[in-house]
Symmetry: C2
Subunit: 371 residues, 2 copies
């Protein structure tokens, strides 16, 4: 399947791998992995400087969570440092409004650090023990120190953004702190979903899930692109359009993630087959399937509500039922709809065409995973 809607985009990368790929080509803009690498290189010195301001102990935990070292500060050349999607969106947001990428560096550092902060604290709340094939910070250092490390990351994110020269710093910090409030709201909803019933009046509806995904995943992606444009001197309408594009990207990204969490190839995702079903996670495909009428939906509800473990053939049966009840198709449609909306946001305001193609390439790259 393909989500591609960008006419300039011809051959999306199909893998989640971090490696540079030349499988993408584009008339007049760099392939996405090169764009990501260029943005990371631009942002890196300021990111290193920001982390270097911290007390050595939370500084080490911050470096660990960024994939710069192993636990205890040991070298860990195999650690993933992430694609840097948020920092890239900030840089591209500035370039899209005709400013230099350098203008957006404080925003890029801030959104990247807020992202790592949120992963770190969310891992504590969710009890997740591994991330990117390594122990999470709370697992490696303890819960208390991990709380401190998250706070430290947030503190230097704000400090870096607040030291941006120029008159736009107030608006920039307003933008970021509003995003923080939305991140908290999204995480609160997500945590509360676990205790809600599968069916009936208290069940999670698709629109509630979408709203959670927009807050939890979309708001920071939108903030990244919008903040870059803001520091680049863009008018409010352009900032808002880039922000909206990022939010749609977040919802689409979450939908694809949910598809991979049930039907993804474990060899590519690194996660167990039917993993989200085994954990009885209330993700979009299941929520959408349960809102339909018919036998598959009712049998799926009964399976999910039973106290028995969901593994092996039972998990496969649940996946088959979720698909038969329309959950997979609805999630694909949800992802497509929000990717289309993101593209429409980008095309509704005057932006540098070359950069728009780079952003669109990035959107497609992120969503063309193995589903």
């Amino acid at each position: 399947m393909s989500f591609a809607t960008s006419p300039a985009h011809t051959s999306p990368a199909e893998s989640e791998s971090e490696s540079e790929s030349d499988s993408e080509s584009d008339s007049g803009s760099a392939p996405t992995p090169l764009t990501l690498a260029r943005c990371r290189a631009l942002v890196r010195p300021t990111l290193v400087e920001a982390v270097g301001r911290l007390h050595p102990w939370p500084g080490e935990m911050a470096a660990f969570s960024l994939g710069w070292c192993g636990p205890g500060g040991t070298p860990d050349p195999g650690a993933s440092q992430g694609k840097g999607v948020r920092q890239a969106l900030a840089v591209l947001g500035a370039e899209a409004v005709g400013a230099s990428g350098e203008t957006a560096v404080p925003a890029a550092v801030a959104v990247e650090l807020v992202h790592v902060f949120s992963l770190l604290h969310d891992d504590i709340m969710d009890g997740d023990e591994t991330r990117r094939q390594r122990e999470t910070v709370w697992k490696a250092y303890g819960t208390g120190p991990a709380v401190l490390a998250g706070d430290a990351l947030l503190a230097i994110a704000l400090q870096t953004l607040s030291e941006t020269p120029g008159a736009r710093v107030g608006a920039a910090v307003r933008h970021l702190s509003g995003t923080l409030t939305r991140l908290v709201r999204g995480q609160a909803e997500d945590l509360l979903f676990a205790d809600r019933p599968w069916t009936g009046p208290g069940a999670v509806r698709p629109e509630a899930y979408r709203s959670m995904a927009e807050d939890k995943t979309g708001s920071l992606l939108g903030c990244a692109a919008g903040l870059g444009a803001l520091l680049g001197g863009a008018p409010a309408g352009t900032v808002a359009a880039l922000d909206r594009a990022g939010r749609h990207l977040g919802v689409a990204f979450q939908a694809v993630d949910d598809l991979l969490g049930i039907w993804g190839d474990p060899a590519r995702t690194g996660k167990p087959v039917h993993g989200d079903l085994r954990q009885r996670r209330k993700t979009y495909p299941v929520i959408a399937a349960l809102t339909s009428d018919g036998l598959p939906s009712r049998e799926l509800a009964a399976l999910l509500a039973s106290p028995l473990p969901l593994d092996g053939p039972t998990a496969l049966r649940a996946a088959t039922l979720a698909e038969a009840a329309g959950g997979r198709a609805a999630t694909l449609a949800e992802a497509r709809r929000h990717l289309d909306s993101a593209h429409a946001c980008l095309r509704g305001v005057p932006l540098a065409p070359r950069t728009v193609r780079e952003i669109e390439g990035l959107l497609d790259f992120l969503l063309h995973r193995n589903v």
Copy 2:
């Protein structure tokens, strides 16, 4: 004993009680409890509005941590809501530079919320189960939700400050985010002190403890007064002087707290007698005592380093040794020196004399506890 250095200040309140007291009188400025109550009343509507922006769940935990309700959002009229020292310092900071207290309200809300955020996350890190005679948030709601509630408090603190009208918002947010980095540094040091030896090259020295106390306790008190002055339109030198005064207050406050933690009257402090010794906390009196030469210092070091519990007569013996080794006198001198420095900071810049008397009254009020 008395720390009073303000000539206008005649009869300091001696108790930690939250109740209004008319034991203070002053020529031309309100008694401290009335000042605190006036500032709380001024700040309260904006504080309520800020908390009201949160998702209901972290909002409830925020209200609980502010003493506005019991766990589960039940009414709890007996809960302490705190004196509101930081919000008062922000309001007085603005008034000291000739601005209205209203000018400082966003700063007052921000520092109060950052204070509650830091208590909440510190309670997780320190494993403290009670605060102000109630369960801590992590104890009442669980660790994960408490992490989220702290993040929520910080998010709305920043959002409120960043929405301050006028051109000073950038400098204000810069001030607050630098303070956050210092708070993290102070908490990191404090946590690491626990694992350091009592004597020898790795022992905590008095100057390291002072630096920790300045970061952990002084930086937010200084930020409060400085931010109020900043939003009130003060020049940088005045902001810096108020900031320094608050930092000295923090160190003095910590010293008094440490005295109370060993020699305080349990009936007044609400804490067990010799509590900090029983818990083998590395507080100033012990650190100072261990830096002296002589038998009491060596016997104290041996007691602290032994694996035996420090209770009853052993704790009393440790307290006696700490006093004999000069720890109590050194801590009193430390508190006096920093209170004097705070007063000197306030008198070194042009400020409204009436407000300076109110701030000095507040300083003395906070430090004249039962030691």
